[in-house]
Amino acid sequence: MTVLLAIKYIKTIKAPTPKTSKTVSSMLTKSFTLITEKAAGVKVNKLYLRLETSWWYGLSGEEGVKFPLSEAFSFSLESIKRRFGRALVTMASIVLGISFLTFLLTTGRIVSILYGEGSGVAVQFYQLWMAVIALLICSVGIVNSMLMSVTERYKEIGTMKCLGAMNTHVLEIFLIEALLLGLIGGGIGAVAGWAIATVWQAFTQASPVNIFMVSASLWTEFNASNPLLLLANPLIDIALSVIIALLAALAPAYIAAKLSPTEALRYEV
């Protein structure tokens, strides 16, 4: 009797609603399979009770694990603060890479603006290569330190998962951390690289005032048609650093997030 009732009830719900999160109907279909599975057995009554009163039935309402973005953000921020030494090492590689890149491009831009585009082709070609190499060095450094900072926390990830963290929550924490490190490191790096290039040019070249004017104008130069000119804008370099940091953290964070809690806990660095 109870089975019939349950089946009847389930049948009133038509095709499963679009898979949003936890809809009642998806719960019911799951219970339905449970019921049919053991329909002949003595456990049917109990299963019907499961349908009505089990704790996961309640998940469709207020319950279910939560990890709002604000919590993830403050957790990541705290983690950077508490592990400041570690964060500094990671950030140092970002700062160095981005400042090297910005320094090269700023110097190149100042020279080519002040002394004409005439010698343009040769300068740009050489600049491009330098920029690419600077970018590569920068990326490798960031990837390496991100990899380290994720793998050394496998055990922590395992613990978090035992406490109710889902894969996406783990991923969130690490990506927000990468974003923050990329932003801060990139910011410091870009400003430093730009400032050093400017001061150096001002000392070695004829008219310091003119050079300050030129290098200041780089911050507002958004020339989308020429990627090299675009990269010479320190603001774009900061964005670039954020992107590289995110990409670098993505792979190790994804692997870490996918680990089962037992694997993560067993992991020894």
């Binding site: 694990v65 035992c162 109710g164």
Partner: protein
């Protein structure tokens, strides 16, 4: 509406095999048990007998090769990732041999963490964590990091963390394994007190014989199989003989 089920945990023919090259290791080989609510249970056996594997299966931390685990009458294999996370956050508290506290967080923050995932308000989180830490005797050390606490104190923090969400079951994997005799005994007594007070089911995987004195029942595990199940009274009688 909450219904009080008789059994907190049921397993049916639970098995876990690990394939290592040509050899299949039967870590757990057909275990069917029923564990009542608010029972204090010890799973005993030599190392390699499958205690930890049982712990992982029941805790929903790993998938069995065969068989089923029911927690509160729900087959945990039928849960999706979201429901499984809820199970871990709300229904089960874990205690480990190596404590596994988050090293950068203070004792208080470690205990609040599970409540973040169950969506408890910040103020309420702090209040409950303080209360729980005071309950386990660490009211004075809320702001200490795990590194500044002794092993026994760290395990107390872990116990507070496991119990703060009022779980149905607390799973403890060798909770006294890293502690000296005296501290181990304190932890065992604390677990027993909390078991009586909060009516929470406590399942210990252990080879610490001190556990026998407080356990309601003891499962003796050998080579992945239940060798025998004894109540405390039966063990006591044997000792006299």
């Amino acid at each position: 509406m909450t219904l009080r089920y008789e059994y907190a945990v049921e397993t049916e023919d639970l098995a876990k095999y690990y394939v290592m090259g040509p050899v299949t290791v039967r870590a757990l080989d057909g275990v069917s048990v029923k564990i009542r609510r608010s029972e204090y249970l010890s799973i005993m056996g030599p190392s390699g007998s499958g205690k930890t594997t049982f712990f992982n299966m029941v805790g929903g931390l790993d998938r069995p090769t065969r068989g089923k685990v029911f927690i509160d009458e729900v087959d945990i294999a039928s849960l999706d990732a979201y429901e499984l996370a809820w199970l871990r956050a709300k229904k089960i508290g874990y205690i480990f041999q190596t404590f596994n506290l988050i090293p950068v967080l203070t004792a208080l923050e470690n205990v609040t963490l599970p409540m973040v995932f169950t969506g408890v308000e910040r103020e309420e989180r702090l209040r409950r964590a303080r209360e729980m830490l005071t309950r386990v005797g660490l009211g004075e050390r809320l702001d200490h990091k795990p590194g500044e606490l002794s092993g026994g104190q760290q395990q107390r923090v872990a116990i507070a963390r496991a119990l703060v969400n009022d779980p149905v079951i607390v799973l403890a994997d060798e909770p006294t394994g890293n502690l000296d005799l005296h501290t181990g005994l304190e932890i065992i007594n604390l677990l027993k007190t909390l078991n009586t007070e909060k009516k929470v089911t406590i399942i210990n995987a252990t080879h610490d014989l001190k556990m026998i004195d407080v356990s309601d029942r003891i499962f003796w595990l050998r080579d992945g199989k239940i060798e025998r199940i004894e109540t405390r009274a039966e063990v006591a009688v044997k000792e006299v003989e």
